[in-house]
Symmetry: C3
Subunit: 241 residues, 3 copies
């Protein structure tokens, strides 16, 4: 249903021919689709560059569609970011899903001749750590769960917050957006408050968060999106005070 | 485990040969299986026709098994209904699952030589809308979430309740049954009260709802079914008052 | 990330070569990995044999890695246990997932020339039932849900607790471990208290339960593990009193 501002890719176009059931039909739908194009313009990284940490080294922005852009991935998501998103989701959506995504991504990367020079290096320089915030988080979690669950508490510190989250090829704001999206998509509402707050601390605006949930309604199903609404609304309200 | 009243299809029979682990073995199981056949008779559309909206144009009922029925799909679910179920679940279980289901359904439809004349038309006449009920729903949701989440609130009105739910090739009662099933199967208990009430308003009886949850215990796992029980029970009790 | 104490299998080693993104890189990760090896030694059945019911007929223990062990499955999980785990999860994770697992397991069993003599027999002698405990459970559930949901309540008794749970080729403690793992992995926190208590009644120690949740953080994603923590902690505390 959502129409890409640049029109369907060849792949989408051929799919459209064979799946008559999702062909738009009513006036309402047409109106909705133009609204999607409009809102997509807002949610597509319009303000992301400014709110993104200066540590993130990003190339110059390219025009996103049509034209003569040589950009290998539409929407401006870079191969190294895609690689990091999969790594990140190995921890937040489970190892098995990530392994499946690796297989799919490898194929797409091969088709596009994306080599190691466009992907994260084996050894990377971690982003600087906000020691005070991390100490606070670690101490709170250790107080809650350290006695009964020493293993996961230690891994959460060592592997997640002092390693994964500091990998430089995905900006912290984007890493948070991926995390919140994974939580909404899997119905994990209990973890939304912490990560939505962290996302907004990392530069995600309230409007972008709301658009992300809206977008996820289509891709993860309406129920997951609607279950996220009261929780996200509560986060917005508490931050507004 | 559940034995089809008409006996296994050839496909099921061949599968049974190769998966010894689910071969019934005890007296208890045998008893359970005959109970399933019995309850299946209740849950299989026995009362559906009468509670179904007169707008729904359905062919004459055919004998469901044995005999000389030329019915191309067992259990009487029509290809156009299956198509609509997939469309519906695109919104309630996520787009990706629907795309996968389209591929599987296309193959089955091709095997059975099911052509466009048995599938929903590209342009359909929507069912009449209950304006009062929809206005009430829209106003309630807008009041709760309209300010912070204008996108999803607008799509819920335009794309779901003023478009998807009015498509004529799946009766509202069946559309509700599909929705509630998707919620139970994905553990989305928070959304059950609204949709189970809507399902019962659309003609689903309490007994049918209970049988659906029972059925889903086998197909979506016991935990999802058991998590639905207290919520569904609460809906039943509130409606009973 | 977790390093098997016996080193990667050939399959893992070849996968490692092609997925550079999960190659360990930092000091922290290396430390974490040696911790994993250590904790794996604890969680791998160290104390399981003693807590396992004497009814369970198990062969002699074999050395687990290196050496000349002819053990066909690493970590000591036997084919008949794997078969039972899949059967068990048909009910706790949904039939479709089990059918997919059957296909995968059949292939592995064929590669290893595992025949019927290493798998559960078609007819088995059920484990003795703890009638008092089961009567209590059945009565409690019937009181809560029997009137509105007679079908699932009856199946829960006949098919699950008087049949599935009594199959002899998977020890009750291991069956409970599988069940709790399925609940954590699918975010079904509401069902955790009952089954974690049952698991500990069946001999799972608190430390093993905590390690299982830690392990599942990697395989089912951090959010599912973290959502289980407060619930599991509450179970531990109530049992400690």
């Amino acid at each position: 249903l959502p129409r890409h501002p640049c029109g369907p890719t060849r792949h989408e176009a051929s799919r459209r021919t064979t799946s008559a059931w999702w062909r738009p039909r009513s006036k309402d739908t047409r109106k909705a689709r133009s609204t999607i194009s409009g809102s997509a313009r807002i949610s597509r990284r319009g303000t992301a560059a400014s709110s993104r940490s200066p540590r993130s080294s990003r190339g110059t922005r390219r025009p996103r569609c049509g034209g003569t852009s040589p950009s290998p991935s539409t929407n401006g998501v870079k191969p190294r970011e895609i690689s990091e998103i999969i790594t990140h989701l190995a921890f937040y959506s489970g190892w098995g899903n990530a392994i499946s995504a690796v297989a799919a991504a490898k194929e797409v990367f091969a088709e596009r001749s994306i080599g190691p020079e466009q992907l994260p290096a084996a050894t990377v320089q971690p982003l600087p750590l906000d020691e005070a915030t991390e100490a606070q988080r670690a101490s709170r979690v250790a107080g809650q769960y350290g006695a009964a669950f020493p293993g996961i508490v230690q891994y959460t510190t060592d592997v997640l917050f002092r390693d994964l989250w500091l990998r430089p090829d995905l900006a912290p704001r984007d890493r948070s957006l991926v995390t919140v999206s994974a939580l909404v998509a899997s119905g994990q509402v209990a973890q939304i408050p912490y990560h939505l707050n962290k996302a907004m601390d990392n530069g995600l605006t309230q409007k972008q968060a709301a658009e992300a949930v809206t977008h996820l309604a289509f891709y993860a199903g309406w129920p997951n999106a609607f279950s996220a609404l009261p929780v996200a609304k509560d986060v917005f309200e508490k931050r507004g005070k």
